[in-house]
Amino acid sequence: MPGFLRDSLTIAAKDLRSELRTKEALNASVSFSLVILLLFSFAFDPSAEQTREISGGLLWLVFAFAGALILNRSFARELPNDCLDALIASPISGAALFAGKAAANFLLLLAVEAVSLPVFGVFYNIRWWGQFWQLAGVLALGTWAMTVIGTMFSALTVNLRLRELMLPTLVYPVMIPALMSAIQLTTHLVGGEPLGGDVLVWLRLLVAFNVIFTALALSLVETVLVG
């Protein structure tokens, strides 16, 4: 479907261009991730061995909390000037609009992670790059899961008052299975071992989560956007 792809790319490029021009969400998200990383040091004694054992959980909490700042903005950025109506009235499908926005969010989240992961390594003396490429793959899969849920719920709540107050409570419970998988896999990989054996069940779960919810979001987003 070249039309779908072209429309998605147009939307993604538009979102990235306007975000990179102001860097509002990006700056907020990166700074917030650094603050959380700092706060963790007070929550427990950051000795390397202990931290490694819970590294997956720490990292994904940072990603999920800091990422919310980017995801919340995704559809909200269409509200000033009523741009959302113009996009919905234009000939692109709701699914293409969603896919484009999700792609932009995905890249922005990866950018935040690319900053906070090395900082995490430095702060807590963790050599996390032992399985670099597998870790990158897991980050991509986990981030896509957050992106799909976050972007969909951003669309769902775009016209509501109290949007910001509501989103975290709605989004995180839905994400739990994906976050759990990503945490398990990341802890394993940061420990330096390649994926295999029992751990693969989490990889399958994460992939299944992504497939199911991507399909669900793409098929329902039109219903959400057109009243």
């Binding site: 538009k14 306007s18 000037n81 009523d82 741009c83 109506d85 009235a89 234009s90 000939p91 057109v226």
Partner: protein
């Protein structure tokens, strides 16, 4: 074929009917001014025509196609309450974006052309957030006209426009009518609207209370239609 056909369109907010059994058609090249009080259902009707909202009952077709059909959406240009352009993008980038979304053969050329027609060519690379109100409004007009829509849906187009933007819009609308394009506008501003309109409709509490040609009597006394067909 009629440019716009609405048949038995109803829309509910909960159990409250915002539109009740509204039927009308608009011939190609006509300009229909939809009058009515605030909350009468004008905006709801325009949203349904534009495919932003779906009717609970009844059907709408734009040149024979349902409004959510891709072909119908390419045929429609919408000018709503908001200016629907992005503050962080330049005027040119905004128009190019919508040119791409509407699948124009050459979005850059169309963008440049419409910047010129709305007198914004010198501000092409300026960010919209730095624009004055009048410039933003003209850009909004350019965005709505960019893909040469055969059907223009305008929601209160003259409200809040400054004089120059009104002049630009009126020129463009006259030209659009001369080109055989169809216009539906909802409006309070009777004088500006009646001046352009070839036909008039009045919505009263969700019902189409009057539909007919614009007459000289209306021009002479813009309050006439409300007194005759609107409820006191």
């Amino acid at each position: 074929m009629s440019a716009i056909v609405a048949q038995g369109v109803s829309k509910y907010y909960g159990d409250y009917p915002a539109l009740r059994d509204v039927s009308f058609s608009v011939a190609p090249g006509a300009c229909l001014a939809m009058l009515g009080r605030n909350g009468a259902g004008k905006t709801t009707l325009l949203k349904i025509l534009a495919g932003l909202s779906s009717p609970a009952k009844g059907t709408v077709t734009i040149y024979g196609k349902p409004p959510r059909d891709g072909e119908a959406r390419r045929a429609i240009g919408v000018l709503g309450h908001g200016i629907a352009v992005y503050d962080e993008l330049s005027a040119f980038e905004n128009l190019r974006l919508f040119g791409e979304l509407y699948g124009l053969a050459d979005p850059r050329k169309a963008a440049a052309e419409w910047l010129e027609r709305t007198g914004l060519e010198r501000a092409a690379d300026g960010l919209v957030r730095e624009f004055s109100r009048g410039m933003r409004q003209r850009l909004a007009v350019a965005r709505a006209f960019l893909h040469s829509p055969r059907v223009l849906l305008l929601d209160e187009p003259f409200t809040a426009l400054d004089d120059r933007a009104i002049a630009v819009l009126q020129t463009l609308l006259r030209q659009a009518l001369a080109d055989g394009r169809t216009i539906v506008m909802s409006t309070h501003q009777l004088r500006e609207a009646l001046d352009l309109a070839t036909e008039v409709g009045l919505i009263n509490r969700g019902r189409l209370a009057f539909r007919g040609e614009r007459t000289q009597a209306m021009l002479d006394d813009p309050g006439w239609i409300y007194r005759h067909y609107g409820e006191a």
